[in-house]
């Protein structure tokens, strides 16, 4: 393979009636990622391609898109692994398109925020002026660790069938993060989060389609987090009450 045919879905909602596809011929080199290919086209063939990227190493979550129809990170997809000469890139579904491949995350971030993604504690004085760490055993850390890998790339959000129709559903990313905090032995805000989630457009609208976990590039397994969290919601009881979070280390 000496070149790839990169087909980019172009769409500027302000100017275009509807999306169209544009093809670019990009020279191939070994180890080239789809992001590399797009950037080559952007730098040398057409400066107007709208695309979001930053870290190029799958840790910032910027570059989620549909590559040959499959949702993936562009910087994390090798051209060689696709096995096709023609690569079609499109923006993720379920996100409004800003331009071309760049999508709007407002709603996604808002939902993340609504589920209180931070430690909630009674001991405010200690929390804001720490003298030591809250104790946490390695095995307790392990219970939440995989969920902390989430890079907020939105790929899960783009494939979830419920998100596709229900705009109030928080989506896999936000709920999985809620689980990460509810399950954290240092956290005491579980009950509040459970109450937020227990509504007609809340956690129950996940039907365990599992697509979120299937596309997550970081192994977060949001579907797992959601189901485990649902157990607490069903019981109406968080694993810890106010004041029951793990205690700071003392000599």
């Amino acid at each position: 393979m000496s070149y790839v045919k990169l087909v980019v879905q172009r769409y500027d909602p302000e100017r275009d009636e509807k999306p169209r596809f544009q093809e670019y011929i990009v020279p191939y080199r070994k180890g080239m990622t789809v992001l590399d290919a797009i950037l080559y086209a952007r730098d040398y063939l057409d400066h107007s391609i709208g695309v979001r990227f930053s870290c190029r190493m799958a840790s910032c979550g910027s570059c989620g898109m549909k590559i040959n129809g499959k949702p993936a990170l562009a910087c994390y997809t090798q051209v060689s692994e696709l096995g096709t000469e023609r690569i079609v890139v499109q923006p993720m579904d379920n996100f409004p398109v800003i331009k071309d491949l760049a999508t709007d995350f407002e709603e996604f971030f808002e939902k993340h925020k609504e589920l209180m993604p931070y430690l909630v504690r009674e001991d405010r004085a200690e929390q804001e002026n720490p003298k030591s760490e809250y104790l946490m055993k390695p095995e307790e850390l392990e219970r939440i660790l995989q969920f902390t890998y989430c890079i907020k790339c939105g790929l899960c959000y783009s494939v979830c069938p419920t998100v596709g129709t229900d705009k109030l559903f928080p989506g896999p990313q936000a709920i999985a993060q809620a689980y990460r905090y509810v399950e954290d032995v240092r956290d005491e805000g579980g009950e509040t989060r459970l109450n937020i989630l227990d509504n007609p457009h809340g956690i129950w609208r996940c039907h365990f389609a599992g697509s979120c976990s299937a596309v997550c590039p970081k192994g977060v397994d949001p579907a797992l987090g959601i189901q485990l969290l649902r157990r607490y919601v069903m019981r109406g009881k968080a694993p810890r009450k106010k004041g029951e979070g793990s205690k700071p280390f003392t000599k």
């Binding site: 302000e14 950037l39 709208g50 870290c55 800003i98 071309d100 931070y118 850390l141 240092r186």
Partner: protein, 598 residues
């Protein structure tokens, strides 16, 4: 869109004409008013925002202007650790951390700043922990630490090998707790606006919609990170361009010590993606083509864990003497970083992230195969000149993080000290800016400056014309830097590069092919390239002028350190003709310069 804007004042040309101002009567500039404006949402920017919100009891409005979505900042890439003295009872001490840092800096660090930094760090680690940071733990539930290069105690606090990522996550998530913090994501700041040397605000471009706005504020903090994308072989994300430094430079603040650029020993070939120093901290070794553990010839005591400048020079020396490997596709030469001795269990436990990276990007499983590495641009020690409080020479304006140069890093930073610095000075500047904003009133706005900036961007660039591809300029610039301002430098090479950069500056690249307003990254990139050229000029001139070798700045033609003439910080001021250099003394308290051995 849900974004709530505090548009308390929409500036219109007619209202200004009544006030007797003069300018072209065609623009409408939105004014977004708040108390503190923070440019940059990396570790430093977010830490500053949270501190400002806390210090003011949420009474101040804080805007974060950031050119990427907040949590996509370059800081997410930091892997290895954050240094702090947590276990004095086990043998660590503040003294030791201070000394290691000063020694690592090749005695160019300001020692009062280092001391302040070291003392402040432990509570920063605990603070992050209390906000939810998933630090890796010891069996007894306390925070774990590991070895890092240049230290005499394992004091790199870590969370697997995704330290920066987790720190960003914790800070971002915690920042959502404060309603007084408003994020302006994908807004590209273009200039600092001042009035009689007092800070008035920053101008910025909304990349998403193409609008231009003036962020008026009483206090400002520049936390725009490093400028590693001056090089193409870099560990940095593509967003790490020196915009913030350039803004400050244009506003009359000098850039300090810009010749000192850190080359990390282990950038994976060919992408430049970082293999963290923790890989060596956990027991990884460097081998040349002959299978020799060559570090024993360069740093007999610390071996692979000598400071980064030392290890990088060793690798390049090996390569130059023909004991390196060659990557056919990219033409890059390298040595092997061999992690196979660490063992599968420990790798999976502590180096999971880089295992993933090596597997995915290079098809190498570090459990059983060595990784090809070579020195890679990784950090800029220099930056916006600030004092020990992070204050710039403009009243009401601070700078923090990699963009600033308080100078705890001197001529060479130790690993794990940078995320730490971002935290400490994020907090300090956040608090000071909040206090300042509480006491002061808004300054008068020099509208001409704002309008000129608007004109420069829209008339000059968006609607401008030109024949040279700005991306080509960027690539050429990076090529010059890669070739001539790398691990070893020579006067000739630096001079050549400087000339080339000055030629490029004159070239006709300031234009956009993409004339649309929405998500016009073309426009943003041209603005970035402009800044890169000017900052690269500073780097090259500072390096050319410093006729000694110190820390990361290794001159072939001046191989020795020269404390008599060069134990001082470089300052570069902007003039019409290019940078004008000046110098200022290093603060030395306890530790007299001595020769370094590792």
């Amino acid at each position: 869109m849900k974004q709530v804007k505090n548009v308390s004042e929409v500036f219109h040309w007619e209202s200004q004409r009544q006030k007797g101002c003069y300018f072209e009567a065609r623009s409408v500039v939105e004014v977004i008013k708040s108390d503190v404006v923070i440019v940059g949402s990396g570790i430093a920017g977010l830490r500053a925002a949270i501190e400002a919100a806390r210090a003011s009891n949420s009474r101040l409005e804080i805007s974060i202007v950031t050119k990427v979505q907040a949590m996509r900042s370059h800081s997410v890439s930091a892997e290895g650790g954050t240094a702090a003295v947590l276990y004095p009872e086990l043998g660590d001490s503040f003294e030791s951390h201070i000394f290691d840092t000063v020694k690592g800096s090749d005695y160019l660090a300001d020692q009062d700043a280092v001391e302040r930094f070291v003392l402040a760090m432990p509570s920063e680690i605990y603070q992050l922990e209390h906000w939810g940071m998933p630090w890796s733990r010891r069996e007894d539930g306390r925070i774990a630490q590991r070895w890092f290069g240049g230290y005499s105690y394992p004091r790199a606090t870590f969370a697997e090998d995704k330290v920066g990522f987790f720190e960003m996550q914790t800070l971002y998530d915690t920042a959502t707790k404060y309603d007084s913090i408003k994020f302006y994501q994908e807004w590209f700041a273009t200039s600092i606006v001042k009035y009689q040397n007092k800070f008035v605000g920053v101008t910025a471009l909304d990349i998403k919609k193409g609008d231009f706005a003036f962020f008026k504020a009483k206090a400002g903090i520049i936390a725009t990170g490093g400028s590693g994308r001056l090089y193409s072989f870099a560990t940095y994300g593509y967003s790490a361009t020196p915009d913030g430094m350039h803004m400050a430079y244009k506003a009359g603040i000098p850039l300090k010590d810009m010749e000192f650029i850190q080359f990390h020993p282990s950038g994976m070939v060919p992408s430049g993606i970082l293999i963290t120093e923790a890989a060596r901290g956990e027991g990884g070794i460097l081998l040349n083509k002959e299978g020799e553990r060559f570090m024993k010839r360069y740093a007999p005591e610390k071996l692979e864990l000598a400071s980064r400048d030392v290890v990088s020079r060793a690798i390049i020396t090996e390569i130059e003497q023909g004991r390196g490997f060659k990557d056919e596709a990219s033409g890059l030469e390298y040595v092997h970083l061999d992690l196979t001795g660490i063992g599968e269990k420990k790798i999976k436990e502590r180096l999971n992230g880089i295992r993933e990276i090596a597997l995915k990007f290079r098809g190498i499983d570090i459990i059983s195969e060595p990784v090809p590495v070579r020195p890679v641009c990784h950090y800029v020690m220099g930056g916006i000149d600030v004092n020990i409080d992070g204050a710039t020479s403009i009243a009401g304006l601070w700078a923090a993080g990699e963009a600033a140069c308080v100078s705890i890093n001197g001529a060479n930073r130790l690993g794990a000290n940078s995320t730490a610095e971002c935290l400490v000075w994020g907090k300090i500047t956040g608090e000071l800016a909040a206090r300042y904003a509480t006491e002061k009133q808004h300054e008068q706005t020099p509208w001409e400056d704002v309008m000129m900036e608007e004109k420069r961007i829209f008339d000059g660039i968006l609607h401008g014309s030109g024949s040279v591809n700005p991306y080509e300029i960027r690539d050429n610039l990076q090529r010059e830097m890669d070739a001539n301002a790398y691990v070893f430098r020579t006067g000739d090479g630096l001079l050549h590069a400087l000339k080339r950069i000055r030629e490029m500056k004159k070239q006709d690249f300031r234009h956009c092919e993409d004339k649309s307003r929405r998500y016009n990254t073309n426009l943003k990139d041209v603005l970035e390239v402009e800044g890169m050229l000017e900052v690269a000029e500073v780097v090259l001139l500072s390096a050319l002028t410093r006729t000694e070798s110190r820390g990361a700045h290794a001159r072939r033609d001046y191989p020795n350190r020269d404390d008599k003439n060069w134990l001082k910080h470089t300052l570069a001021f902007r003039t019409e003709e290019g940078p004008k250099l000046d110098y200022k003394p290093v603060v030395i308290t306890k530790y007299q310069p001595a020769e370094r051995h590792y």
